[in-house]
């Protein structure tokens, strides 16, 4: 909130940055849909190679400092890059758990040594991360975590045991960040510690879980006295919950979900509608098509509204929960409408036009579940935005 008047234009420098990104992407992005699914061993490596291509020209993590492989650009430039990335129909980011979820936490809580050790290989795709939060008995109630870490003074570290589950990218990732209980006497949010774990350490067993689409996008991970050195504890021992919540804010709020993926999908939905605009079915769905586009547009505008607030020293509080509800429902609405337009073609899977929308729909269906279910987010909106009583 300054005396500067409202202005929704980008600066000339920002537009120049956009053009530079667009040129690079046009020259380098593989043809849309040409990479195998990143939830297969082959696709995982193909997506890793794409990360390395981007990293080589400093496009993989544009908002990071140059010393870690970035271009040190601001929040708005990052949003511009994302617009161009999605417009170019570039591949999904196999490194997203690391660069979007862990990295903000490393920047905030990591020591200089940890930042130097972990950020560059994360940026290049040499080390892919997965998230170890959920457990069989700790989902929406994340504070119910039971996996434990025992102190080993002799070895200068911790011995982890227990089970994590629903670790996206877990089937093929090299590293895992996760919460473990270091104080067995403490309850709930207290006594948890944030660990950075090399999945090649003895005692780790990864069991891929086939998803609804048949591919192994996520995994369960078993820990039997897995040694993690003190140097790989992120933040203070016992402060894991607070450290993790910084990441949760990233996942729900601004950093993971740039609006471009929805505005771009909405644009393709309009094109699909226009190609069938003569059909009676398409006409019946016209309101849904328009609403899906408007939902994406509203998310885009709200993101710039929030970004302006953040750039002027404000923060993202419980609005992150409203964001998460909105983008996940928008994604569902876009894909559901596309499948409705496709009609009998919608069920085709593998190679046909229906495939991309169906895969997108399956992916969108996970949106209201991961990163805290939308039911939990509605509780947050009701309690922290509206002030309704917890009990």
């Amino acid at each position: 909130m300054t005396e500067k008047s409202m202005d929704l234009h980008f600066t000339a420098d920002q537009e120049a940055f956009r053009l530079e990104a667009r040129h690079w992407l046009t020259a380098h992005v593989p043809p849309a849909g040409s990479l195998p699914s990143l939830d297969t061993a082959e696709g995982f490596e193909a997506h890793r190679a794409w990360e390395q291509t981007m990293f080589a020209d400093s496009w993989s993590v544009v908002a990071w400092p140059r010393e870690f492989g970035g271009r040190d650009v601001g929040l708005l430039e990052w949003l511009i890059f994302e617009e161009e990335y999605w417009r170019a129909q570039a591949p999904l980011r196999v490194s997203q758990n690391g660069i979007f979820l862990l990295a903000p936490t490393l920047f905030e809580f990591g020591t200089p040594d940890q930042q130097a050790r972990f950020l560059p290989p994360m940026a290049s795709g040499a080390e892919i991360w997965c998230q170890g939060w959920s457990e069989p008995d700790a989902g929406s109630d994340l504070a119910g975590i039971r996996s434990r870490a025992r102190r080993s003074d002799s070895e200068g570290g911790w011995l982890l045991s227990g089970q994590k589950t629903w670790a996206s990218r877990g089937a093929f990732a090299e590293w895992c960040f996760g919460l473990f209980r270091t104080d067995p006497e403490a309850e709930r949010h207290r006594g948890l510690t944030y660990f950075l774990i090399d999945l090649a350490t003895p005692g780790v067993t990864v069991r891929p879980i086939p998803q609804i689409d048949g591919e192994t996008g996520f995994a369960e991970i078993f820990f039997e006295d897995v040694f993690v050195p003190d140097a790989h504890v992120l933040g203070d021992v016992g402060q894991g919950w607070n450290v993790a919540m910084a990441t949760a804010g990233s996942e729900r709020g601004l950093s993971l979900r740039s609006p471009a993926r929805y505005t771009e999908a909405a644009r393709r939905l309009v094109a699909l509608y226009a190609s069938r605009a003569g059909d009676a079915k398409a006409r019946r769905l016209s309101g849904d098509v328009a609403q899906a586009w408007m939902d994406a547009e509203a998310y885009r505008l709200n993101t710039f509204f929030t970004a302006t607030r953040v750039l002027n020293g404000g923060s993202v509080g419980p609005e992150a929960s409203a964001n998460k509800i909105h983008w996940s429902e928008t994604d569902l609405a876009i894909h559901r409408t596309a499948l409705a337009l496709l009609g009998p073609d919608a069920e085709r899977h593998g190679g046909h036009e229906g495939n991309a929308w169906l895969d997108g729909y399956l992916f969108a269906l996970a949106g209201p579940i991961y990163a805290g279910t939308n039911e939990i987010q509605r509780n947050v909106v009701a309690e922290r935005m509206l002030g309704l009583p917890r009990k």
């Binding site: 008047s5 929704l8 309009v270 098509v289 547009e297 509203a298 505008l301 709200n302 302006t308 309704l388």
Partner: protein, 353 residues
């Protein structure tokens, strides 16, 4: 990219909020329900604050401000369910009068009356005697459009005086009597009332409609927020099964859903206001997006707030009804969410199809 209001704009908003918290309370609205034509003095207050003539150029005695400056004030007007015609007069009619004041004495005089005496305007999309016009019963003059032989005309018609070229409204009974809806039983338009025709009239009326979408949208945002506030207070207070009903997830999720819709309607309205001020080529589409979103947000808020109140919300005694009725009317005014979805889609297919 700087998507925020200035300190000054926010201060003007909070000044208006303080005024309306005193002068446009639920008790005042009940008095207006009982006698809709009584002058409560609010319009004079708004005039003295410069709100009524906010969009009039400075050389004509106004503040010379735009829709970005006005939307926050309209949101406050909505929060208070202000009965006076701020949307029609300040957002819709004043810029038309200002554009034509140099060429038409009739517009010049109306503009002077608006700046100096708080002229109240109504706006009518046709001269059809069956079409109801909001604010017709309280208006000093009506801005009216007709299309004859494919050519659009805009007329400025007085509501008092003698002769055929005077708009004489006949009351139309509506659920919210403060809307002062009337209809004009004879066509009052003629050569003496005409202020623009043809391409110029098309352009002026098209712009007026875009402002109507955004201004009505802003008013709906305020109504939605007020209804949610009233209901949150009630849900904290009302106990069943030994606890406040607002502690139950079933109630929380209803209200959270409405709040999320409102959160995302807001930037749609603000961005469309800026685009209109800038003459942005996407202004029409975003104005329709704003109205569709705000209509849906207010309609959803109205539905869940009534539900969360239970039977008490269904009574005359409960203040909620004062805001429900206005939101139902305005959700449909100047195009429903459905109407605007079609406009948005047509424009999208033109661009991306």
């Amino acid at each position: 990219m700087h998507f925020a209001f200035t300190e000054q704009q926010l201060e003007f908003q909070s000044a208006l909020r303080s005024v309306l918290e005193n002068e446009c309370t639920p008790d005042h609205l009940r008095a207006a329900f009982a006698d809709p034509s009584a002058d409560a003095g609010r319009w004079t207050t708004l005039d003295e604050m410069g709100v009524v003539s906010l969009t009039v150029p400075e050389e004509n005695g106004g503040l010379g401000l735009g829709l970005v400056d006005l939307v926050l004030l309209l949101e406050e007007a909505g929060r208070a369910a202000l009965p006076e015609p701020l949307v029609e007069t300040t957002a819709m009619a004043a810029p038309v009068l200002a554009a034509l004041a140099g060429r038409h004495d009739r517009c010049q005089r109306a503009l002077e009356a608006l700046v100096g005496g708080g002229l109240k305007m109504a706006v009518s999309q046709s001269a059809d005697p069956l079409v109801p016009v909001a604010g017709a019963l309280g208006a000093d003059a009506v801005l009216m459009t007709v299309v004859r032989d494919g050519i659009r005309e805009i007329h400025l018609v007085p509501t008092n005086g003698d002769g055929p070229e005077v708009a004489r409204p006949e009351p139309v009974s509506t659920l919210d009597p403060t809307r002062l809806v009337g209809r004009f039983t004879s066509d009052p338009t003629g050569s003496a009332t005409s202020i623009a025709t043809g391409d110029e009239a098309e352009r002026l009326w098209g712009d007026l409609e875009q402002r109507a979408f955004v201004a009505t949208g802003a008013f709906l945002l305020g109504l939605a927020e007020r209804m949610i506030t009233i209901t949150v207070d009630y849900a904290k207070d009302r106990k069943q099964f030994g606890q406040p009903i607002g502690s139950f997830q079933a109630v929380k999720h209803l209200l959270a859903g409405a709040q999320v819709k409102l959160e995302f309607a807001r930037p749609c309205v603000y961005a469309a206001a800026w685009m209109i001020d800038q003459g942005d080529p996407s202004a029409a589409r975003n104005a329709s997006t704003a109205k569709a979103y705000a209509s849906e947000a207010a309609t959803e808020a109205a539905r869940v707030c009534l539900q969360a109140h239970g039977a008490i919300g269904y009574t005359w005694e409960c203040d909620l009804q004062l805001y429900l009725k206005r939101s139902w009317a305005l959700a449909e005014a100047w195009g429903s969410a459905d109407d605007h979805r079609q406009l948005v889609l047509d424009s999208l297919v033109d661009e991306f199809g």
